[in-house]
């Protein structure tokens, strides 16, 4: 195999060598850490994605060895390919930090920060982005854009109010399914994701739109509000699937499989697309060959419930008072929650007090 010549690119004073055609963003991902620009719309597994959200803007302070002139404007690093000798500023550029802050503020104008009641909390790219690159408050004083919830299929819930119009689900539907029934309607801040005149999303691979959605706009109806993601434990598993690779991640609590998703890499992108059957219809432990706990980054809230090297915080109270504290009320007994005979994952929709009564009486 002949060696393709590598190009040298320096990002925030760190130099890497990459093959021609690599984007600045992917070069930065090789370096990793804070240098890597955030990305909300780019998705390496989707052709043509990127360029839209503008969170990944960087400053090119030197174009290349041949043409060292700086680029006049900030560029979208996900759609700009590197040149040999290019010098890029990401977090070392005031302009970039300022622009990124601006973009985060724009994205949050119409995305409610109601993470406590959003199913995506803990797995939301926008939550991370605003934490890392935004400011604490917004200067926006007007009513936010709201939409009615829309039923776009029996397994997928669309809540446009949270959508940041990254177009990822549109690309996914276009590239993974034969018949594309959904896309963007209207323009500007009135744009919305919707289906063609009330059609539903029921293609074999359409469930993947849930995985690519960076926020809680598209959620899995078979899992929505059944649990918070940090209460579940993630394990990698596979099965012999005639449609897809069958390589998935199971989100379990006890022995119950609450949710099945594709496996994601460190950039929160799926490693392999999975089919609807694996995702929605195969939720028994016996359906799967379990490979072991998923490796989860220590920073993630999901690591809360993670076994690998998990350290339980020490409960100092018994030591301090010299005995176990007396419980005023045993919430588990009183509420009937977590009773072993009730399988929360099997209940149709979020658990409700009625569900417990029905089974008891």
């Amino acid at each position: 195999m002949s060696e393709t010549p590598k190009l040298k690119v320096t990002i925030d004073n760190i130099t890497v060598e990459v093959p021609a055609g690599t984007s600045i963003l992917n070069a930065a991902r090789l370096i990793g850490g804070d240098v890597t620009p955030p990305a909300m719309c780019y998705y390496s597994k989707l052709e043509g994605s990127g360029g839209k959200c503008r969170t990944c803007l960087v400053e090119v302070s030197k174009g290349s060895e041949k043409d060292p002139r700086p680029m006049p404007k900030l560029v979208a690093s996900c759609r700009t390919t590197v040149m040999d000798g290019m010098e890029v500023k990401s977090i070392t550029s005031e302009k970039v930090l300022d622009a990124r802050k601006g973009v985060v503020e724009f994205l949050l104008l119409n995305h409610p920060l109601d993470c406590p009641v959003c199913d995506q909390a803990g797995e939301c790219d926008l939550q991370d982005l605003s934490y890392e690159h935004g400011s604490a408050g917004t200067r926006y004083e007007f009513n936010r854009r709201t939409f009615d919830k829309e039923d776009i299929g029996d397994k997928i819930q669309l809540h446009m109010t949270r959508c940041i119009l990254c177009y990822r689900c549109v690309f996914t539907a276009e590239q993974l399914t034969q018949r594309r029934e959904h896309g963007i309607l209207d323009r500007g801040d009135k744009s919305e994701i919707s289906t063609l005149l009330g059609k539903s999303l029921d293609n074999e691979f359409i469930g993947n739109v849930i995985d690519v959605c960076p926020v809680g706009a598209l959620t899995d109806k078979t899992f929505r509000f059944k649990n918070r993601v940090w209460f579940t434990k993630a394990v990698d598993a596979h099965r012999d699937c005639p449609t897809c690779s069958g390589k998935v991640r199971l989100w379990m609590r006890g022995d119950e499989v609450y949710r099945v998703t594709a496996r994601k890499d460190e950039w929160n992108e799926v490693e392999d697309w999975i089919c609807n059957t694996c995702r929605f219809d195969t939720k028994e432990v016996k359906d799967w060959v379990i490979e072991g706990p998923t490796k989860v980054s220590r920073q993630s809230v999901i690591s809360q419930n993670h076994y690998v090297n998990a350290k339980k915080p020490q409960n100092v109270l018994p030591e301090v008072i010299g005995k176990d504290p007396k419980l005023l009320m045993d919430i588990h007994r009183v509420s009937d929650v977590n009773r072993p005979e009730i399988e929360l994952s099997k209940i149709d929709g979020p658990a409700h007090s009625d569900d417990f009564e029905k089974k008891d009486k």
Partner: protein, 449 residues
């Protein structure tokens, strides 16, 4: 000086016979005696700059067109004309359709386009019929179709109607729309010259630009370049409107001073009822507004002329742009805050919604401006507006973001006191009725209509 509108008032000029009688289609006959490269060279020599807004040198743009072996190329005429204040292409096509078709044939030959498109604004429905009739006449007389004038060159012109979206005037959105898709701008690179319509190399030019190719070929690039001044060669169509006595389309050579253009009887004829000039947006709504003192004289105190360089003199601090030549004049009674609000509303409505700064920022600016205009604004809103426009400008996929930011920036830069007045006098701001008098002026229609 009239090159494009020279025969505009001749009887029946819309039809082939009269057009031909007045020297029409001579440039096609001449062009077929030249090689395509020679035509491109002539256009380069003419110094013609694109008349659609950005003013990019046309000859240079043409020479960038990729010519891969065996891959068709396309010429697309941008007749979307949706910039508020700009209405020149409309008249050119309505009264002189053959001039555009003639320019298109010569340009298609130069660029090797056998299928050429006119992408026309949907609202110009009646002009579609005029163009199609003229295309039929040109074809019947051997100027279109197979083997034009025995030259061996084949060319068809197709007219495609848009659905009335401003963004479809942006060249890559236009291409998407032409391909039957949603009119979202593409991310560049690749540029249309490499991958345009159906991924084939494509040139997109404005109506006026392509019409100007006719006099360039007829008189020669060098002669054309002698008209005008500096890098503003040839003539420019200006669509003048607002508070002037004679709104309409004027063909000027770009040595014309702005002052004379507004006040002389030959052109706009001054401001109605003897009112004073307050401000002007000289190049279509997206270019920065200038207050009267900076409009007539540059910051250096020189007479400002209607040329690309002179209008841009001083950068955005004290200058503006030629843009598409939509010349909007405001008298002393006009409220800059209200006008800016109206423009912000337009850009908010027309943003395609692909990129977050434009999608969200334009709406935010409009809402703040609306508050200010109706006496509900705060002092801090003015700085906030400034900050928002700064965060949109330069950070979007296509120049619509800039087009939305510049009017706001320029209005605050030059008329901050007026914004503050709105904050300090909320009651009066609410009561003051600016009316819509400046929209009520009838648009001048040439007698031959």
């Amino acid at each position: 000086m009239k090159l494009l509108l020279e025969h505009a008032d001749k009887e029946g000029i819309r039809y082939y016979e009269a057009y031909r009688k007045h020297g029409g289609y001579r440039s096609v006959e001449k062009a077929f005696k030249m090689t395509p490269d020679e035509i491109v060279e002539e256009v380069k020599k003419s110094g013609l700059r694109g008349r659609g807004g950005a003013g990019f040198p046309t000859g240079m743009k043409w020479s960038f067109l990729a010519k891969p072996e065996g891959v068709p190329r396309h010429l697309v005429c941008n007749a979307d004309e949706s910039e508020p204040g700009t209405f020149k292409d409309r008249y050119l096509m309505e009264f002189l359709p053959h001039l555009l078709i003639e320019g298109l044939i010569v340009s298609s030959f130069a660029l090797g386009s056998h299928a050429t498109y006119i992408y026309i604004r949907g609202e110009y429905a009646w002009i579609v019929d005029i163009l199609e009739e003229a295309i039929g006449e040109a074809k019947a007389n051997g100027f279109l179709g197979k083997n034009i004038l025995g030259s061996g060159f084949d060319c068809e012109i197709y007219v495609q109607r848009g659905a009335g979206a401003y963004i479809c005037g942006e060249e890559t959105a236009l291409i998407e729309s032409l391909e039957g898709k949603r009119g979202n701008p593409r991310i560049k690179p690749p540029f249309p010259a490499v991958q345009g319509v159906w991924m084939r190399p494509t040139v997109v030019n404005n109506v006026e630009t392509l019409a100007a190719v006719v006099p360039i070929i007829n008189m020669g690039g060098d002669e054309y370049a002698k008209i005008g001044v500096g890098r503003s060669t040839g003539t420019k169509l200006i669509s003048a409107c607002g508070n002037i006595n004679k709104p309409g389309i004027y063909e000027i050579d770009m040595t014309q001073s702005v002052e004379e253009f507004i006040f002389s009887d030959e052109y706009c004829g001054g401001i109605p009822k003897g009112k004073r000039l307050k401000a002007c947006i000289p190049g279509g709504s997206s270019v920065p507004i200038l207050p009267a003192n900076l409009l007539l004289k540059t910051a250096k105190g020189e007479t400002r002329t209607m040329s690309y360089e002179s209008l841009a003199d001083g950068g955005f601090a004290t200058g503006t742009m030629m843009g598409s030549g939509g010349f909007i004049v405001m008298d002393e009674d006009q409220c800059v805050v209200r006008h800016t609000m109206s423009l912000a509303h337009f850009y908010n409505h027309e943003s395609c919604g692909q990129c977050s700064p434009c999608r969200e920022g334009t709406g935010w600016m409009y809402k703040i401006l609306k508050n200010l205009e109706y006496g509900k604004g705060k002092m801090s809103d003015i700085d906030l507006l400034w900050d928002i426009q700064r965060k949109i400008e330069g950070n979007t996929i296509c120049p619509l973001g800039d087009a939305a930011a510049w009017p706001v920036a320029a209005a605050i830069r030059h008329f901050r006191d007026e914004f503050e007045w709105h904050v300090l006098n909320p009651d009066e701001a609410q009561r003051r009725n600016y009316g819509l008098a400046h929209y009520a002026d009838p648009i001048h229609v040439p007698a031959s209509a």
